[in-house]
Chain length 346, copies 2
């Protein structure tokens, strides 16, 4: 069910659909103004809200205090898109609840008291919202949400007022990037209330030709309306990417395939590979898989490799490769082996 | 026995040892001053000298009139280093005799009436000279060589006076090239009477890090003395290349192997490959094979591939790949297949 291991609608281009809701407690100061005791109290109240004996969700979630995790395990949550970088930055006072299928997570004491998030593979924003609303209802029944009839859900940062919802679609757009069309899209989308970011959100670069498109406005429209607008925009970008891929392949098929197979030859043979190069090579391999040029590899394997090649995930392997201290060498070793095994095993 | 399919001493670095002798007939004007009838007469006299009933060599040689060969077959002789580019340029009036093992060739009406050449795999200049001297004696017994007691063998170009001998060693020098040391060697060698050229002789570039070192001076020393000097120089270059390879590998083993395996990954997966890139990639693969990094491929296979990737050799395959008109595409297809088959079959 996790977006990393499964596929969904339009998975040739859309990696995941994510919805998150910002919620705060009416009877507690905002996180920026809380003291240590208040922070701990929020954590315990959210925990009981989900894991308490009355909760339908009590058997599905794991509760984690961030400061009890190793630095590597904290980063792994970020690399899987289950936790935000801010939650880890606040590790002294933050906690998280993650469901067993790694689809839904509830962050406590991030920028807001509570951030609920659901991430699905492929193009499934509405499903993600629906799933998340059940979790939200469970908490709402237990906790006094800060809500104003005029403004909607109150939040620490005014950009989250109203629905408190941020919906985002993660897309692989190598053809639009290669032909320079992404620049125009990135500068146009904010004009229609959408933002474009890289793989790891705000401030991250679009390594591997992966872009996240999300709503900027949370106020003045319902959750369903916001998702409808985002889906319409995403549909246009998706179609443009597909058209450009076809045009590139038709223009000079051999050279198009040449670029893809060279990337495959390099990623399966390199002995040192930094993160940027890895993401660029994997982007080309993904394109080759999606277009039927590279056989015997499925897209969900590629998503798995993309996450496996991130620094914290690699560090998890260090015990098996105790002699390798250099992450770029470890990355080359693990990724090339996985890709070759997968292809030979297929 | 051919240098392309066999190995010899120091084959890790030395591809071949070649000796050629320039000879002219005393009773005939030099090629630059001959008419058509005289040219034909020279061809027939050399032919009888080698293939006549009295000759020991008569069963070993094949006689070819250059203008009767297709343009592709002419170029193939050059690519195999059996004929010189000049012999093909003079195709209207030239001929060649090639022995069955493709070690020795006798060019007629090149720059001189006769150019005898012998090419051995590895470091075997003396063997090549000895082999060639027997052929020279056979012809000398039949034909009136232009010879002056003071000057030695007379030749069309004064740079060939005396012995008429040019000895050359073809070396693979990727470490000296990569570290910039080749520039110094190329500028120093002429000062000691040696010249450095590329794979296909005068004016050709040193593609694939392959360099030919040959004597410039043919006068005032015996054949054995000239070869002795060349061998001494070659021995120094050889040792320097070996030291530099070791130093490069020791300095950063992983990055050294990375460069080699990336070249291997590219050459086995590319779909379009021009001659320059092919030679550069094959140079790295050869280095990897020579240093035991790439297993299950032998050096003579690499020499075979180097020649197979040349334009005329590729054109020979056109009938099997009638749909492929682009040599760069054909090269990628044939070379990557051969390399992968060879490795899988090993």
């Amino acid at each position: 069910m996790s977006w990393i291991n499964e596929v969904g609608p339009s998975s040739d281009i859309i990696l995941s659909s994510r919805v998150r809701l910002a919620r705060n407690l009416a009877d507690t100061p905002f996180p920026t103004a809380m003291d240590k005791e208040e922070m701990d109290t929020v954590i315990q109240r959210v925990r009981r809200g989900i894991l308490g004996s009355h909760s339908d969700l009590k058997d599905d979630y794991q509760f984690l205090i961030i400061k009890d995790l190793s630095p590597v395990d904290r980063e792994i949550l970020v690399e899987k898109h289950l936790a935000s970088p801010d939650l880890i930055k606040n590790y002294k006072s933050s906690a998280i609840l993650v469901d067993k299928v790694q689809v839904c997570s509830i962050m406590v004491n991030e920028e807001d008291h509570i951030r609920l998030q659901c991430i699905f593979p492929g193009n499934r924003l509405k499903d993600a919202l629906e799933y998340l609303q059940k979790v939200d209802d469970t908490l709402d029944a237990e906790l006094p949400y800060a809500f104003d009839d005029g403004l909607g859900y109150l939040s620490c940062c005014p950009t989250n007022l109203g629905t408190g919802m941020r919906a985002s679609i993660m897309m692989h757009l190598p053809a639009l990037a290669a032909t320079g069309q992404m620049k125009g899209i990135i500068s146009t989308l904010p004009k229609v209330g959408m933002a474009v970011r890289g793989l790891y959100g705000e401030g991250s670069e679009a390594g591997g030709d992966i872009f996240q498109i999300s709503n900027q406005i949370t106020l003045g429209a319902s959750e369903e309306e916001i998702i409808g607008s985002l889906e319409a925009i995403v549909g246009q970008v998706l179609e443009k990417e597909r058209q450009t891929r076809r045009a590139m392949a038709e223009h000079d098929r051999v050279r198009f395939e040449d670029g893809i197979w060279r990337a495959y030859g390099t990623i399966t043979h390199a002995k040192v590979m930094d993160l940027n190069e890895f993401m660029d090579l994997l982007s080309k391999v993904r394109l080759g898989v999606e277009m039927g040029i590279i056989p015997d590899i499925d897209i969900s394997s590629i998503n798995g490799l993309m996450i496996l090649g991130q620094p914290a995930h690699l560090k998890k392997y260090e015990k098996d490769y105790a002699d390798i201290k250099d992450l770029d060498i470890l990355r080359a070793k693990i990724i090339s082996k996985k890709l070759r095994d997968r292809k030979e095993g297929a």
